[in-house]
Each structure stands twice: as C-alpha cells, then as structure tokens.
Symmetry: C2
Subunit: 372 residues, 2 copies
C-alpha cells in the first residue's frame, strides 16, 4: 500500500427503518437530508462523487438523488451486490479518495420492503428454493447437527438482538422477546422460525467519506477506515465444502485485520450480518471472535452480562434489513460507538470497531476495520 | 494527484452486437471468454476485482460471472448509470488499482436488446415522453434552428458512421446508406428519422485494467489511461440553460485533457457518444474539436476524405448500443487504434485517443484519454 491520505468518516445520516411504500428516490433523499442537517460544515459543492447502493430496479438514481440534493458530482452511479451493496459502495468511495480522483464521496444506500434483491433468481437448478431462507435452513440444520445445538440455544441470538434494537430509535422492531417466544413463533421451514429471520423493510442510510484533511475540518470526532477485506468465493452456496465455515467472511476478516495491523482480540465492538439467527455464531466463529462451535456460548454470555459488543444496534434481526442500506447503517453504528455517541447502546472503551456485511449465504463478504 | 502506479489496458474481449435473446449471464461470459482466449498470459487467479456494467435488472451478476469464469475476486459488484455505466466502471477499476486495493480488475459490460435502461422513468412530469428520442428530438430542433442546419446536413453523421461500421466485424449494422436513405427512412418524430438513431441490441465487451508492472508483463502493446474527466449536471435535460451545449461533456473533456496534460488538438482518434445524429456534432463542439455550429462541417469533411478519426468502429449508430457494453466497446476501439490493430478502420499516427460516453441527454458524461 502507498502512503496516501487516510480516509475518514466525516458525517452520516439515517432514517427510521419501517414498512412503508415511499418511492426509492424519496427514501434515499431522506437520509441525505439528515446528513446535511446534522453537519453544518458540509456544502453540496464540496461533494465530488455520489454512489447509490441499492437493489432497486430504478435506473440513474445517483444523478436523480444528486439533483434532488443540489449536488453536481463528477462521479455518479449505482452499485449492486445484493445484501453487501452498502459496504461495496463504501470501499469504492474509499478507493476514489485514496486514488486522488475524489476528495469527498457521498454514499447513500436505500431499499424498499419489496426489494427484488430478496429473491435469488440465478440458480434455476434450485427450482422453487429462491428465497434466502432455504440456504439459511440448510445452514441451521448443519450447524445444529455438527455442534449439538438446539433451537433454544440459537434463539438467544434473536433474544439478544431484539433487546439491543429496543435501544435503537431507527430499528424496525422495538419489542422484546423470550426464548419461548422465538421457538414458538411461526415455523417457516423445518429449522427456522419467523423470529429467527431478519425482515425486509424500507429505509436509508448515508455516509460521507473524505480525505484526511477534509475529515478533520468537518468532524470533531473523526473515524478512520483502517482495514478493508473483501472476498467472493462463488455465487451459489452449494459450492461450499462445508456448511459450518463462512469462507469468504474468514478471508475478508483476515485481510481487513492485516491491513489495519490489528488482531481480532483488538476489536471492541462489531456489527455482523445476522440475516438469520444461525449466521451470527457462524460469522463470529469464521472471523475468529470465537472457537468453532462456541459462537452460541459467546452470544449467550454477552446477553447474560448485557454486553452490547456484537450488533449493538440490534443487528439485521432487530433493526430490519433494507438491503442496500444495511452495510451503511452497520458502518454508521460502529462510527457512533467509536465516537461514544451511541447513547443507551454504548459499549465501554470502544477504540477499534469491525463491520461485517455479506451476501447470499456468505458467498461474498466485506469486512471493514474502523478506528478513532 | 499522487505518484502511484500507472493504470494500463492489458487485455480485452468483445462479442458481435446483435438482436438475440440470450440470458445476460451468457452474454457477459462470451466477451470474458474472448478476453482469455486472446491473452494466454492472464490467469483467473490474478484477477482481484470483477465489475459488471449493465442496466439489466438481474442481481449479483459479478459473483455469477466470476463463478462461470473461474474467478474468485476480492471486489465484486454491478455498476449502473444508464448509457455511461461502462466508463463509470472503467474509472472505478482505475481507482481500485491506483489506490492499491486491486492489481488486476476485469470490467465486463453487457446488455440485452430489451434493456430497461432505454426508458427514462424518473421524470413523471414528462408524461409519455420517456423514450430518449424525445430529448434527442428537442436537441435536433434547437440545433437545426440555431445553426441553420438541414436534415440532409445532419444525415451525413449516419452516412459516415454506417460506412465505418461496415469495417467493424462486431457492428450490428453492415449496410451502407446514402443521405437520401437517411432522410427517407421512417419518421420517428418531427425531426428524427429511424436511421438517425442508434439501436438497442444484445452484446458484451470486457476489458482488463492492471497496474503498470502487470500491464507490461501481459501486453506487448500496453495502452495507458492518462486522463479521466467526469461530470453530472442534472438528471433531467430540461434543467439545461441551452440545448446546443453539452455542459457535462464540456467539463468532463476539459478535466480529462488537463489530467493528461494534453490539448484537444493532440487527440488523433476519438469515440464519441452518437446516440442520435445530432449528438455527434454537439459533442465535437462541446469537447472543442470544432467551433460551435461547425461540427457538421467537420464531420462532412472527415466523411469526404474517408478519414475515420471520429467513431472509427461506426459509433453507436453503426455499431449498435448495448448500453452497459458501449463505453467499454468504445474504449477497446481506441486501444486497438493506438495499438495499430484496427485493420481497415485504422487511423494514421494514432498516439493519443479519446473516449466520450454519456447518459440521458448528456446530463452525465465521462471522458477518458488513452495513450501508448
């Protein structure tokens, strides 16, 4: 790597996650407005790239959003990679700044509750099994069998994340649930209940990445992106050799930590992609937070001690999952934690944070390391 | 700008442009296969990013293409910005290499004849006028009136570009036409005839961008991207102050030339975005190739002297316009010209080339400068 400018998070904005029917353009604009309202030092004319993260089928969204927000960027386009579109866009913004092509990049992610990204269309050999719940179900069955885990054990993921989402004013869900509630909720497949699932929703999140100098000018509490790791292993999860290791997440995590010169034990707070309950322990194990098979134990321990270290905003299960916004909302949460602006969700001594965002049964993953 | 690695074009592949009904995944793969077949020094394992340029609504195309092509990239996503998705993807690839996040980036663009990018949906105030032909019609009317240009004068753009496309084996159209043929072709609007229009089609183009060292290893005739300019002025063309200047193209052109330390007179060969006949003179004027109102005269002169300097592959009018592939196909043409590999289309003394690719009435433009 070269000795160029650092890339920082200068500002962010977010909307409540909900189930309403607004147009995608309006949803995008809402978090951009929030960003400008929270940060009086940013002017439209200083933004030289606008990247839109979404699975929505509408075209030309970056120029449309730019026009609505009064921005005339150099670089403007939409980015899509299913559920990790958001962190793909953040990494792209990082590279524009690092390369010198841009100084200030607005990354704006949004989705509607009826996103076409919820259906995995490409693998026709799967017949009807196009909804992500089918891979999640196979993962759940395999994980439970391999490590002698029960439905009640796994339910603690949802119990913890719903509890944490209660303290997140933008979360889709503000109810709390017991283990009994989870295992008694509607059975979706043999191994998955309704409350094991994150829910599609409408929402938006925007973040402004800037060069070192500009970050320091705009933000009193700058946060730096110090590590990036990305990996795509395949497009279909049946290509994996095992259903208990998320290989792309493991590789992305190792790369990001290496780039940041950090170890997993240095991470004080993390957002990980709990699309379904089973994902959280599998990710914690693949990233090295826990030994294999011990992820659920770690999660139960965090829950029992009321420690918000993993998925403080409630994860995807508690917050909802507006696909294109998710990776950006995760990154905002970690930035807030490092700034000690996370209010009732605040983790102690948060100096190093991690964002893990993945797509389609972890066939593709991004990991970011954030530091003060 | 920093003193980092240069970014080069190490390889490319392309398909014939046609009207068939293949799946987008197969269309993408076709030009990637062509790229590998033409360049034995490239191995799948060396490619660390795959960017897909398209307006197609299918999701997760980069991981799907990667799996089909045997690539396991770090960075993988789709990029969309209507007609200039291709050059947006190339600039993104450039920034990944320049930033050090990637060493070799495969950019693969494809479209089907029925692309949803042909309909401009966002501006509901326009009622039925959602097809690009309506902005082109207003441009044509304004241009003809302002500079006393006739339909016969404008027809020379199509005559020239169809003639040049005849020498391009991948072009959609291999017929040649007279001025009479153009002005007598089906009337689409008051000012536009069928043969004034580029046609949507099915096709794909792929390009491999690499760091300086890798480019020199892979290619015997490396081509370097020395200038980049991009600008978005609005999302809807009715925001323009004038219909005879393409402001975003002018700004993008000036920026690209400045970055490359070149003047417009240094450019020996150019691909410009002739979506409709009127676009070609307007672009030549906005970029500074010609004085305002003199673009048609320049084009007529090139045609009369059989000089292929502008749109040697036949432009969009002659080659066809598979949206997501167009900017990449333009860039491949200029690379071939600089390599003196353009056969019957070859321009003399081609040392500096320019690519101009735009979207939606030039509300957004990219200009690239390529050099040996």
């Amino acid at each position: 790597m070269n000795k160029m400018t650092k890339v920082g998070i200068a500002a962010y904005g977010i909307t409540p996650f909900r189930k309403d029917d607004q147009k995608i353009e309006s949803v995008l604009l809402e978090s951009v407005k929030d960003l400008f309202e929270n940060n009086s030092k940013i002017e439209q004319k200083d933004i030289d790239a606008v990247l839109v993260s979404t699975n929505n089928n509408s075209k030309y969204l970056s120029p449309i959003l730019s026009e609505m927000a009064g921005i005339r960027p150099k670089i403007a386009h939409s980015i899509e990679n299913l559920c990790n579109s958001g962190t793909n866009s953040i990494v792209s913004a990082y590279s524009y700044i690092k390369s010198g092509l841009a100084n200030a990049v607005l990354v704006s992610g949004a989705e509607r509750y009826d996103s076409p990204g919820q259906i995995l269309e490409w693998d026709n050999s799967r017949g009807e099994f196009k909804h992500p719940i089918f891979w999640a179900s196979i993962f759940t069955k395999a994980y439970k069998r391999e490590f002698s885990i029960t439905d009640e054990d796994l339910a603690v993921v949802s119990v913890k994340n719903y509890k944490q989402a209660k303290e997140n004013p933008n979360a889709l869900n503000h109810k709390i649930y017991t283990i009994k509630d989870i295992v008694n909720s509607k059975k979706m497949t043999e191994d998955i209940h309704l409350l094991n699932c994150s829910r599609p929703c409408t929402g938006s999140a925007s973040i402004l990445l800037t060069s070192e100098e500009t970050t320091k000018k705009i933000s009193d509490t700058p946060i730096w992106i110090t590590g990036i790791g990305q990996k795509t292993t395949s497009a279909g999860f049946t290509k994996s050799k095992t259903f208990s290791l998320m290989k792309s997440s493991q590789i992305a995590g190792e790369s990001a930590l290496k780039m940041a010169h950090r170890k997993i034990n240095d991470v004080d707070v993390a957002e990980v992609h709990d699309a379904f309950s089973v994902c959280e322990p599998m990710i914690l194990e693949s990233l090295g937070f826990s030994e294999f098979g011990k992820g659920v134990k770690m999660i139960k321990n965090l829950h029992d001690t009321n420690n918000f270290k993993i998925n403080p905003r409630g994860g995807l299960i508690g917050s909802g999952h507006p696909l294109g916004a998710t990776g950006i909302a995760q990154t905002i949460e970690i930035a807030q934690q490092l700034q000690t602006h996370a209010k009732k969700r605040q983790v102690d001594n948060a100096n190093t944070g991690l964002v893990h965002n993945m797509s389609a049964a972890s066939t593709s993953s991004t990991v970011l390391i954030l530091e003060k």
